[in-house]
């Protein structure tokens, strides 16, 4: 069964902006799915429609078979959402926020309190339950929003940039937590600007650009479509003269760093053989850019605009 099924979804805002131009998207039950795209591509609009915070112009959306037009409450019951922007009542206590959310889903007060405790403990917030949300750090507020989204045990969890502005330690612990709840059966849809996050966590990916889906595939299949990769090699000794390597595009970044572009028709062994023959000993290497990032830029045709310099973190924003 599809956890989420979107057919010909169109959204035209009142100012004439066509945010979604007939997208089709299908997410299998149990999947960990990445929905990627540059700012303004339509990701948040699509999520807004699925969560009923945005009215669609046309098209069909089903959540676990519940059509949004005919069984909105059924669809909503299956959904948990962590929005991009903080939407907490800053002056309410943590335990009240999570308990009330359970109540909005029809869970009785006693059970709601138990569930709230479970979720807050899972997200390491139970000790701060009596504080108001305003007193929390940015990372804690994100975790609180995840706890709130999970309290009614949704079958489909939608996370819109859940780790934005969160430090690396908390981000890694959130990854572990999300992996665990996915393994327990919760389908997860993730949008993120950290493409290494999507590559690490997700099994399927869709890339949306200008309101259209430009790629929709397994993560591994999408990465296989990359025709070449760029590596940065660190050499043991300074490189005085750039060797001539016929099958590889090589440039010297500095005296101990070479940049090599390698196509799928060649392998790294042949590269190392050639370098070794030229008296260059490689001590370490890394991808110049994350592989998904490469795919992302190619599919959204932003590489030229972004220039050749790609930072270690994704440049999707």
């Amino acid at each position: 069964m599809h956890a989420l099924s979107i057919n010909n979804l169109v959204k035209v805002y009142s100012n004439g902006l066509r945010a979604l131009d007939g997208i089709n998207l299908h997410v299998e039950e149990g999947d960990f799915f990445a929905l990627l795209g540059p700012n303004g591509a339509g990701k948040t609009t699509a999520i807004g429609i699925v969560t009923s915070l945005v009215n669609k112009t046309s098209g069909e959306v089903e959540v676990f078979g519940h059509n949004l037009d005919h069984d909105l409450a059924g669809a909503k019951s299956c959904l948990g959402v962590v929005p991009q922007e903080l939407n907490l009542n800053q002056y309410d206590r943590l335990d009240n926020i999570v308990t009330n959310q359970a109540g909005f889903y029809g869970i009785g007060r006693r059970q709601a309190r138990r569930r709230a405790q479970e979720c807050l403990e899972q997200l390491q917030l139970w000790d701060r339950r009596a504080e108001i949300a305003r007193n929390l750090s940015g990372g804690m507020k994100r975790r609180l929003m995840i706890a709130r989204a999970l309290v009614h045990r949704p079958r489909l969890l939608i996370l819109d940039e859940p780790t934005a502005g969160v430090d690396i330690e908390i981000r890694r612990s959130m990854w572990d937590f999300l992996r665990a709840i996915n393994e327990q059966g919760t389908t997860i849809i993730l949008t993120t600007h950290y493409l290494e996050e999507a590559e690490n966590l997700c099994r399927h990916v869709a890339i949306i650009d200008n309101g259209r889906i430009v790629a929709h595939d397994r993560m591994t299949s999408l990465l296989m479509k990359l025709h070449h990769e760029v590596f940065v090699l660190n050499t043991r000794d300074p490189v005085v003269a750039l060797p001539v390597l016929e099958d590889f595009n090589v440039s010297l970044l500095n005296e101990r760093e070479l940049q090599v572009e390698i196509t799928r028709s060649h392998d790294l062994n042949s590269l190392f053989r050639v370098l070794s023959a030229a008296g260059i000993h490689v001590v370490s290497m890394r991808n110049k850019a994350n592989r998904l990032e490469e795919a992302f830029f190619r599919l959204t045709e932003r590489r030229e605009a972004a220039g050749d310099e790609l930072p270690a973190r994704a440049r999707a924003s």
């Binding site: 915070l53 945005v54 009215n55 939407n87 907490l88 800053q90």
Partner: protein
């Protein structure tokens, strides 16, 4: 979502709203008590003595029901407009919008919050009034029913204001430029029989006049208007505003993109 689950969601929202009123009682309950004490002190004790009697009652006794009703109206309205708009502005209204709770529970939950604050303030003002005058009750059913229904009407009014409001200024425009004039001209401080004929006819277009007078009738047994007509108008407003609120929430006006 079955009916029991719907009732749980309504209870949750109502409890949340009531807890908010009680949590910030210094903002919600105390100020109207102080304001009304000043009204009783200035209009009742100082000026009222010179006015003498109105419709057969001491002036202080005559204005007490109007002042109670005025505080119920402004606080019911103010509570919902402030609570709903801040939830919309700070986006935690989305907690309700993404959940399967039906629209009627969202409307009713906020209205209950407004009514609880309005009636609590009404009770506090009544206690304050007892320090200055006596509060007879001519008909307990009319007194309580008009109080509760009026509180519900203005809670719905506050909700509609909050639905349409886009910025904080929009929240204060209606209370300042519509609600306050209608309340002050709604027979709180005087009997419309004192007005010239033209002004009397104009006053009959003011719905608050009916609410204040019906409540005063419940307490003192005197009124400038027909009580049956007053109930009809209050119930018509109640039904109309509830239907409009439901329609707007259903369409997502002001709350969904």
């Amino acid at each position: 979502m079955n009916f029991e689950a719907q009732m749980i969601s309504l209870w949750t929202l109502s409890l949340k709203e009531v807890q908010r009123v009680l949590r910030i009682w210094v903002q919600t309950i105390l100020p109207p008590a102080i304001t009304m004490t000043l009204y009783f002190l200035i209009f009742g004790t100082l000026i009222g003595r010179r006015i003498g009697q109105m419709s057969g009652f001491d002036y202080m006794e005559y204005i007490a029901p109007g002042l109670i009703m005025m505080s119920v109206i402004t606080n019911s309205y103010g509570n919902v407009v402030s609570s709903f708009f801040s939830a919309k502005y700070n986006r935690h209204l989305e907690e309700m919008l993404v959940s399967p709770m039906p629209n009627w529970t969202i409307v009713l939950g906020h209205v209950i919050g407004g009514m609880v604050r309005g009636l609590l303030v009404g009770l506090v003002v009544s206690v304050v009034a007892l320090f200055f005058t006596r509060l007879p009750v001519n008909n307990i059913f009319i007194t309580l029913s008009v109080l509760v229904l009026t509180s519900a009407v203005f809670s719905l009014g506050g909700l509609l204001n909050a639905i349409f409001a886009r910025k904080f200024d929009d929240v204060s425009i209606i209370p300042s430029f519509v609600l306050a004039p209608l309340t002050y001209l709604g027979g709180v401080f005087y009997s419309v029989s004192l007005l010239p004929e033209f002004a009397q006819k104009l006053s009959m277009l003011n719905p608050i006049l009916y609410m204040v007078n019906a409540f005063r009738y419940g307490m003192l047994g005197v009124s400038d208007i027909n009580i049956g007509l007053a109930y009809l108008i209050i119930l018509a407003f109640l039904a109309g505003l509830f239907a409009l609120s439901m329609l707007l929430i259903q369409r997502g006006v002001g709350i969904r993109d």
